[in-house]
């Protein structure tokens, strides 16, 4: 037993623990191997004990891991911490932009815009381009297409004339997307239930709305003829009113849905310009 403890104590003098830098590099290795759980543990450890460059870089990697795993809210929090901890202004702005990117993905457009407008333009070109790109996404999300076009164009160097032209053409198509108009769809469904849905291109829902409201209208009239208007108004008419109102509200939604679908296609093409 004495011999065992002697050997153990002899080895313990020569043994060293993994220091912060080694832990950080271990995290990077695991990150490169896509072992995200192990990498997260290593980066969290660096974050707990360390500060400065290692801690900021760990926050950046933790945010990337969260984004890979679809945890956008958590990624935004990590980027926010990285931005707060950074001393260099350019680095601070970069992490704020990454945070804004996460917020836009969470559809927190207004919050992202507040942060984006707080970032100065007196920064390296790559950061200013990225800021304008995110401004373009935010304005697109708010349906301010003119401002979105300007921001997207400022996200490209003036020398990239082909891409600038591509953007112009895409926005030209986007601005002319007005069909189906949700207001027209609603008005049509007010005049004839189902007509708005037909106009928006949803035949199945149009027939459904026409038959349902038509059926209740027939029942209301039939009840009024057989049992009197008061009886009809009290028993069947509320059902007709319910599906009539629901029908034209839904016609507007279907038209909005169709418009969004077309805008989404343009948006994806805009992103492709920057790939």
């Amino acid at each position: 037993m004495l011999r065992f403890f002697s050997i153990l104590s002899l080895f313990s003098f020569s043994a060293t623990a993994q220091d912060l830098e080694e832990t950080y590099h271990f995290g990077l290795e695991q990150y490169a191997l896509s072992n995200y759980d192990v990498a997260s543990l290593a980066f969290e450890r660096v974050l707990y004990f360390g500060e400065g460059h290692f801690a900021i870089s760990s926050l950046d990697h933790l945010a990337r891991i969260q984004l890979t795993q679809g945890e956008k809210e958590s990624a935004v929090n990590y980027y926010h911490r990285a931005a707060v901890m950074s001393d260099a202004y350019a680095e601070k702005c970069w992490f704020t932009l990454r945070k804004c990117s996460g917020m836009l993905a969470l559809h927190k457009t207004q919050l992202a815009l507040i942060d984006l407008y707080g970032i100065s333009d007196d920064l390296p070109d790559s950061i200013v381009y990225y800021k304008n790109f995110l401004l373009g996404v935010a304005h697109f999300s708010n349906l301010n297409f003119e401002e979105s076009r300007n921001a997207f164009k400022h996200a490209l160097p003036a020398s990239e004339s082909v891409k600038q032209h591509q953007l112009d053409s895409l926005f030209q198509v986007l601005i002319h997307i007005r069909h189906p108009n949700p207001k027209t769809a609603k008005i049509l469904s007010v005049i004839l239930p189902g007509a708005g849905q037909f106009y928006a291109g949803d035949v199945k829902n149009g027939i459904n709305s026409l038959l349902l409201t038509g059926g209740f209208l027939f029942l209301a009239v039939n009840t009024a003829v057989n049992y009197g208007i008061v009886h009809s108004m009290a028993s069947v008419f509320p059902w007709f009113q319910r599906y009539y109102l629901g029908g034209y509200t839904r016609a507007g939604r279907i038209a909005e849905d169709r418009l969004s679908e077309k805008r989404d296609l343009i948006y994806q093409n805009i992103l492709n310009v920057y790939d």
Partner: protein
């Protein structure tokens, strides 16, 4: 620094998703009773409820609750639970239910 301008997180859609919904819980049936009630539920959802505005105060909605209750408790107790739920769907006792901040509805599971 130095990443792609258009990372995957920004490849989202602006399309509204409330128009078309998938009711997966009504499709994994194990017996005839569940098939019957799932059929009724899907017919109601696609032919009748789809033409209505959102009027239920709870999440899941009363029809979804009914379907889930029948699957969980069987047809008799499931239908009784649904009748109980229909009587409670009036928004008069908000203090008794948790509130879903995203959907702005009260939470009530079978």
């Amino acid at each position: 620094m130095g990443q792609s301008f258009a990372p995957t997180e920004l490849r989202f859609g602006f399309r509204e998703t409330h128009v078309h919904q998938e009711y997966t819980f009504a499709k994994n049936n194990t017996n005839e009773v569940q098939y019957f009630f799932s059929g009724l539920f899907l017919f109601y959802k696609f032919a009748i409820s789809s033409q209505d505005n959102n009027s239920c105060t709870f999440s899941p909605s009363c029809s979804e609750f009914g379907m889930l209750a029948v699957k969980k408790k069987g047809p008799i107790f499931g239908m009784l639970a649904t009748l109980d739920r229909l009587q409670r769907c009036n928004g008069l006792s908000p203090e008794k239910y948790a509130f879903d901040q995203e959907k702005h509805l009260f939470i009530d599971l079978p």
